[in-house]
């Protein structure tokens, strides 16, 4: 069948294709294959880092749905993660519930939390909505603090969570977790990619691009905005629950506003409105502190005074938020797209098709 080029989609079926370019399929298979073989050749620490990336990516995909696709900015993502983590803590400590019960339960709590936090989006948009999610974040953290201080009798100690097991398999050790998280993330990614091709996904993008026009097209704004909040918080909650199991500890200090901002940094650096961007951004921001640490190893000793490494690690996230917003607002995904276009058009140097920037 003759094609009108990769960027022009001429039929409904074509517009629904995910991997349009033949080499993309090869690339995806290659990446998955490498990922499967990786633990055999790399150090345990690197596998641990990748696990952290996978965990972050699940949460980042959630935020990407809400902010990148539906255009509703949320500063309460850490709150959603906390919901998942604390559901896990409460269920495993008090009820000794197994992993396969806790994870769906965390997802359901995420649904409820997303619904509640999403309610203000029916009345506000823009700045006011962002501030109301911020308020929700503090409300959730307050509840978590109260629970934790009642439970442990001391605010500083966290709640310890035993290693989970699925049936006879005990999820323990970096490599076991690696395969589990890899499978889980692949599943979540496929769900997200497909979600964007269905009615809700298209409705979200319409709402993001112009909510009044979307409403005029017959999209039920209230319903789809709430759905976006629910999807986002469900994914975050699952991610929070897995994090709790992976790190074996739940503590309220982990769920600060800074964590929510780190997730925002992931989707900005990755690129708003791109699933690939969420994955790239999650990996970039998760590995950033370790990268900075490595760079500091090479610097003269006098530079490493006191807490300066920590300070730089904190500041780099903010710096990257600013730099990407100013100079590359569509993020790493756009850089990747430009590279693709360059090789596709080679040896001609047409300017790549600009996507419309609002």
């Amino acid at each position: 069948m003759a094609r009108a080029g990769y960027n022009l989609r001429t039929s409904y079926l074509e517009s629904n294709e995910v991997l349009r370019r033949p080499y993309q399929k090869v690339l995806v298979l290659f990446v998955l294959f490498t990922a499967l073989l990786l633990p055999a050749v790399s150090s345990n620490f690197f596998v641990h880092l990748l696990n952290l990336c996978f965990l972050a990516a699940i949460g980042a995909l959630g935020l990407m749905i809400l902010t990148g696709y539906c255009g509703q900015i949320s500063l309460g993502h850490a709150g959603f993660l906390a919901i998942g983590a604390y559901t896990t803590a409460i269920l495993t400590i008090h009820l000794k519930a197994p992993f396969i019960v806790v994870l769906p339960a965390a997802a359901i709590c995420g649904v409820i939390a997303g619904f509640i936090v999403g309610l203000p989006s029916l009345r506000f948009r823009g700045v006011y909505l962002a501030i109301s999610t911020l308020a929700m974040h503090y409300a959730i953290v307050f509840l978590a603090t109260t629970y934790q201080s009642n439970f442990t009798r001391s605010a500083s100690a966290g709640i310890t969570i035993p290693d989970p097991s699925i049936g006879p398999f005990l999820l323990k050790g970096d490599i076991t977790w690696y395969y589990f998280l890899l499978a889980f993330l692949t599943l979540v990614t496929i769900v997200c990619v497909n979600l964007m091709r269905t009615r809700p996904g298209r409705a979200w993008m319409a709402i993001r691009d112009r909510d009044i026009a979307a409403e005029a097209l017959g999209i039920n704004l209230a319903r789809y905005k709430l759905l976006a909040f629910v999807m986002s918080s469900t994914l975050a909650s699952i991610s929070g629950s897995l994090m709790a199991y992976y790190s074996n500890v739940v503590t309220v200090e982990a769920f600060t506003l800074d964590l929510a901002i780190v997730y925002i940094a992931m989707i900005i650096v990755g690129g708003m409105g791109s699933i690939l961007g969420a994955l790239m951004g999650a990996a970039f921001i998760t590995l950033l502190p370790y990268g900075i640490d490595t760079v500091f190893e090479f610097l003269p000793r006098s530079w490493r005074f006191g807490s300066s490494v920590f300070g730089v690690q904190v500041g780099a996230v903010g710096l990257f938020i600013i730099l990407f917003l100013l100079f590359e607002p569509r993020g790493l995904a756009e850089i990747w797209r430009r590279i693709e276009t360059y090789f596709e058009r080679w040896p001609f140097r047409y300017r790549p098709l600009e996507t419309v920037r609002r």
Partner: protein, 287 residues
């Protein structure tokens, strides 16, 4: 009497912060999430220039003023001016980025986990029932009052102030009538940073400065929202409400709750009267 003094003094801190947030919102429809950090860094600059120059007040004030002017104009010229016309979240997220960078600057440059300043702790005035006010408290109240009076006079009577109000009303029309909009907007950032620095200096004088104390910015934001994001008068009233509520929770209910309290007030206000007490209804970006 003592409780009244405590509430009054926190009102001053919050009112200054809220004023800065309101000015920025009016000028460019930007909500500044970095205001607490600006305040704390300003406070650090003030006290460390003071310490370095043998407690010279003049040099400390000069240092803080230079910091505010440079910082405010840098933020506007290098970042905020470039994102005009972008989606609303870009400006907000940039201020969040600035907040993080400032926080890390505190860690890298000053290193000290917290800075406590010993100034004017000796009681200056004894109130009738045994309560005392320190010089710092007195300075807080007087300087805040002076700041608001200057602001009022500036917006009301000076040519620049009128240009400022015109820009806030409609930047395009203002620029067509010959107002230098870029200058006015960078001035807004400078004034807001000055207010933040002043509030950081006053806050540092009676509590302590650290990366954690940057959360006063969020209390200031709440105060601005309670009063109405586009109303300076509202900023003062909002600050008073937040300070009073915070004081009452600490005394009567639970100190832990006071952390979350500004946001509970926020949720309450947003569900009942989202445009704030003195804000204009049309300003609200509603669905």
């Amino acid at each position: 009497m003592e409780s009244a003094a405590t509430v009054l003094i926190s009102t001053c801190t919050y009112a200054l912060l809220a004023a800065g947030i309101v000015i920025l919102y009016k000028a460019g429809r930007v909500v500044n999430f970095a205001h607490g950090e600006l305040a704390i860094v300003g406070g650090f600059v003030f006290y460390s220039t003071g310490l370095m120059s043998d407690n010279s007040l003049v040099l400390a004030i000069l240092g803080a003023a230079v910091f505010s002017i440079v910082m405010g104009s840098i933020i506007y010229v290098t970042m905020m001016r470039r994102v005009v016309g972008e989606p609303f979240y870009v400006a907000i997220l940039i201020t969040i980025g600035i907040a993080i960078v400032l926080k890390s600057a505190i860690i890298v440059i000053w290193r000290a986990p917290r800075l406590t300043i010993d100034v004017g702790v000796t009681p200056a005035i004894r109130l009738p029932d045994g309560a005392t006010l320190s010089y710092m408290d007195l300075a807080s109240v007087l300087l805040t009052a002076a700041f608001f009076i200057c602001l009022f006079l500036f917006f009301r009577f000076t040519r620049l102030g009128i240009q400022f109000r015109g820009t806030a009303e409609n930047p395009l029309l203002a620029s067509q009538r010959g107002v230098n909009v870029n200058f006015v907007l960078s001035l807004a950032w400078v004034i807001a940073t000055l207010a933040a620095t002043l509030s950081g200096v006053l806050y540092g004088g009676r509590a302590f400065l650290s990366t954690e104390s940057a959360s006063i910015g969020l209390a200031g934001l709440t105060a601005a929202l309670v009063g109405g994001l586009d109303s300076l008068r509202g900023a003062v009233v909002g600050a008073f409400i937040v300070a009073l509520a915070q004081y009452l929770t600490v005394r009567l209910i639970d100190p832990v709750l006071s952390e979350a309290l500004p946001f509970l007030i926020l949720l309450l206000v947003m569900s009942i009267r989202p445009w704030g007490l003195f804000g204009t209804v049309e300003e609200l970006d509603r669905v």
